[in-house]
Amino acid sequence: MKRMHDPKFEKEVQKKLEELSFSPSEAVWTRVQQAVNEKRRRRTPLFWFFLLPSLGLAGAGMIYFSKHKTIPPAQVVRKASVSTPATALAPVSVPASAPASMPAPASAPASVSAPPSSTPDNKTATALVQIPSATGTAIQAAPGHRGHAIHRSGPEEQTSPDIKQDRTQDIASSVPAAHQDMASSEEPSYAGLPGLRSFDHQFAAPTASRLASSPSASYAKTPINIKPKYSWEMGFTGGAGLSTLNSSLFEQPAVAASNVQALMAPTVVNAAYKAPTSGVQPDISYWAGIVAQRPLSKAFTLSLGLDLHYYSTRQQIGEAVYNDPAPLYQASTYFNYQQSSTARSSIYPYYSVGNADVFVNRYYFLELPASILWKVNHSRNLPLFWENGLSLTYLVSTSSIYYNAKSGVFYKAQESMANKTQLNLSTALLVGLPVRNMRLQAGPQIQYGLTSLQHQSSIGQHLLYGGIRIVLIPGKPKK
């Protein structure tokens, strides 16, 4: 039987070729070093560029919200309870001027008993008078009052049963009969009231009418202006999907075609010659940021944010042209590149049209989205939101190539050639998912760039993104 091959031959070849060595040109190391350093350099500034504004915005938001957590002195809202452990509540809004003109409620009883069943929620039943701590002043009782002062309430006061008892008596004696009347067992719904800031306007009107009709209606004569208070809430947002470059909203990605190769090799040209094409294909895109939401009404919510968005597209290209393409393509004069041919060929490589290779165009945008969420249904467990909005974006950095129809080549363009400021239109359908101690909204999102990516482009190049949008807001929803 004949041998398939002689291992001795292979060993000899192997031994000989082990000695094969050449000295690479210095340009190889330069390009390797550039590529390695570029990757490291690209990550660091982008990280800080994203992190620092986020931290700044989050810090400013915290300061802003912490300052506005207190209730303005003009709107002192009291939530009184009576002496029994399970007492009813009487939410009343009183203007700041009201105490001074308050007549002495001579008929006000020291305490009023209420059926325990009227307050199913002990937490709210034990809540006391809340007066803004920012003002730092104790509100004096009205002239002719029994002399009880209403003190500022603090966290320690709310947790001390003894103080609560005393305070409750104080309040009970200072609250006119109208309050006690309201605090009767006829209003069991008051017991489930949320915090003062989310004071529901649904019971503001009956409260006002009852105050007005009560015998001692001095409070009610002053105008009561209770509006539902909505506050800003901060959260995190992110998403992932695919992005591509479209000629317009519904048109497929632009495909470059050229007969440059035919010009370079005329012998190839024949009747069946088909110009090579370079298609644009979608590639991954992802983003992350922070979001601030504020309900405008029960159905609509305003959402503002700050995101860093990465887009990419895959571009089919031909061979890399490392020689000076200027004589043939005139690309250098067209774009006013002032570098030498050597520098140009090494820094801005040219690619012919074709499908020999794939180039990934990368874009990093800083985005300022503003949108309105419309709550489509009334489900508490699975609320559905339709979000529509605009976002102003800024191109932070890019590594992309552009097709020059005049010269028929792709080239790595300078960033100045791109429209750095973009306006995007976005729509998303979000489902609120029940997650413990936080609100999670997730759903599909489509975003379309209204502005063309390139200044000098005969065909539009609009970024189109489709993917999943996720919004995460820590904390339970405020009712």
């Binding site: 041998r3 292979e10 192997q14 094969l20 050449f22 190889v28 390797v32 350093n37 020999a356």
Partner: protein, 186 residues
Amino acid sequence: MDYHQLVKDCLRGDAAAQRRLYEHFSGTMLGVCYRYTKSMVDAEDVLQEGFIMVFKNLHQFSFSGELGGWVRRIMVNTAINYLKKHSRYQTELLFTEGILHPVSDDDPEITLSTKELAELIRQLPPGYQAIFNLHAVEGYSHVEIGKILGINEGTSRSQYARARALLISWIKKLSAVTKNETYARP
């Protein structure tokens, strides 16, 4: 050379260490790349891509084997990917299913220099060239070559046999020419 320390320095981002690693291996690795390609420009392109891969994936090197072997494997893989990606190699990498035929027992003495032998290998069609390099020089089995190039094991064997026969015939011819030239000298 203390490869362990060198790799650690490179991972720390020490440019001087990266340069040392590059200079230590670049000559030999360019020789590897040269055997798979048809021009020095292409070989340098492969070397460049290969070293970028080396530095990018250096954290994955586990010191369980030789650093040189690890770098070499990356270079070979990069070269194969380069051949697959570039059109001028693609057409000739389309392997035809051939019948496995035996090779003669010829055992020519290789009197050629290293560079002459490398030049002869580079004259082989790209398909033959890649398989010959992978099997004869790198020591990959035909099953492995089949997986790397996406061909059958039988095709790899067949192509290798043809490449080997062609190379041996060239070596013989070239050796004869060299011998005649030697005899002809006064």
